[in-house]
Symmetry: C2
Subunit: 302 residues, 2 copies
């Protein structure tokens, strides 16, 4: 049974009705399979992003490991703030401090080396509240939805502010989403020959920060088609949702509202790193369907 972790109601009906319309051969609102593109944010949409993004947990663990090998790093303000979890000081260091941390932990190595580090971390790192592996903090109703869309001829993509390489290290296993269908924030890559072997090096320079306006722009660059369906959970997804809704014919934009403190978390406007505010206020105006975790989901995790 498809979407079995979704309660019957407005949200589930909106999804099922939409898919029926765009896939009905000969129907007025039919889209052929190549045009069936569905884009999903990752953090807070496909997996848990509380108390802070998984990427930040990874960043902290990596920074600890680097500092253990090179104690001089602990004297650098951005590292010190991160390692002492002094988030006030971290914010005070601004973008430059953040880039220093990302460059140190996410660059200066080949893509293959990063992949091995990410896989090894994901194999053991656990969520502080749920005790399960982070990669098992994926939402079961969403995994069902991804499969349901693919069964109906959709190509499913991640379009997330998260780092593309960390996501690619688990997205195929967790979501059935191939590496080439993962779009995220990225460091620049440089081709080089290292010990006679050609490699791609991750260099300490931002390629794309895939949030807000950058999301539709990256959809244009990577996919070249306007999606039929977009699913997000924060204001950073609003441009992607509006771009999706702006296409001709039926389009579906879905917004997950975390309103379930008991089974997961309840938050929106106050989550400073990635607030949900404007998208919630204007959902009606923009034709966005709000999904309530509490009301619409029978189960949360896989």
């Amino acid at each position: 049974m498809a979407l079995e972790s979704w309660n019957d109601g407005v949200s589930k009906s909106a999804i099922v009705d939409f898919v029926a319309r765009v896939t009905k051969d000969g129907g007025a609102q039919y889209f052929p399979p190549p045009e069936r593109v569905a884009v999903f944010d990752n953090d807070g949409t496909l997996w848990c992003e509380q108390p802070i993004h998984v990427q930040i947990f990874f960043l902290i663990d990596r920074a600890k490991e680097l500092a253990a090998r090179d104690p001089a790093l602990k004297e650098r303000p951005a590292f010190r703030a991160l390692l002492e979890r002094d988030f006030g000081a971290l914010l005070a260091n601004g973008k430059q401090g953040a880039m220093e941390l990302f460059a140190a932990t996410h660059a200066g190595m080949s893509e293959d080396e990063f992949e091995a580090i990410a896989r090894s971390w994901l194999a053991s790192a656990r969520h502080p509240k749920f005790g399960r592996l982070f990669k098992q903090c994926t939402y079961r109703p969403q995994v069902e939805l991804l499969g349901y869309l693919r069964d109906n001829g959709f190509k499913t993509y991640i379009v997330s502010g998260g780092g593309v390489d960390l996501m690619r290290a688990f997205a195929e296993e967790a979501y059935g989403i191939a590496r080439e269908q993962v779009i995220g924030s990225s460091m620049k890559l440089r081709f080089e020959i290292k010990e006679g072997r050609p490699h791609l090096m991750k260099v300490g320079e931002l390629g794309s920060f895939d949030d807000h306006e950058a999301k539709p722009a990256n959809i244009g660059l990577h996919i070249g088609r306007r999606p039929l369906l977009a699913f997000g959970n924060s204001d950073g997804d609003l441009e992607m949702m509006r771009y999706t809704k702006g296409g001709a014919g039926p389009r579906l934009a879905l917004l997950l509202h975390h309103d379930d403190a008991e089974r997961e978390f309840a938050y929106d406007r106050e989550f400073k790193l990635s607030p949900l505010s404007e998208a919630l206020d204007k959902a009606d105006e923009y034709g966005i369907t709000v999904v309530s975790m509490n009301r619409d989901w029978k189960a949360i995790f896989e």
Copy 2:
């Protein structure tokens, strides 16, 4: 019969043997379908790039049309050089002149508007020597090869210095390559709301010039897997071929040599815009298989 426009010989055997090895279930050199990535250059590899790239013919026709509507453009050095086909003057204007021309003809409009212009041009623009539509100047042996690879579980990509949007306007029809599997040079995209409708605008700023080192870097960004097979025809493809060959297990890099003045063109080192020189000289050293158009292809065009 697969590859029927390929003559029997070393090149065809290299392809067929390679595909047999990587697809043989249980074989020592087996790769599962998700890892079967094949990347193809476009200009000179999948379609004709002589006497000059199709993109330049498009650029000239677009510049003419713009200058007809706005005669002041004719006084601008880059436009004048292009319209008078004074290629010496064009080169003298350097990169800045080239960017001015690309910005005027390939930007300042939405992706949808550019797509309509490109499709309309491709529907009528003809090759000066062959008299056929440019979009029919695709190579029949290559279209067969793309299909053969897909029949064997490969995902086929274009990775070309050509503009991504011009290629996307015909690649699906001509090669069976979906828009999201076309990687090319690109202008930056900006999300904006125009008359209440969200659009992606092509802005007059280079996003990526997808040649040489940028090709493997873009493969990393867009695909995130090292290809098993790469096919090119110029030094601009050498880094992509070396990156491909640098992976573990069997990999195939193919280089098309245009040595058929009668049926198409014969050229290599002297084609200034995109020479074939180092890749030809070092093919043996790098394990690249040189395909001779004259010897290996029974037919040229579709």
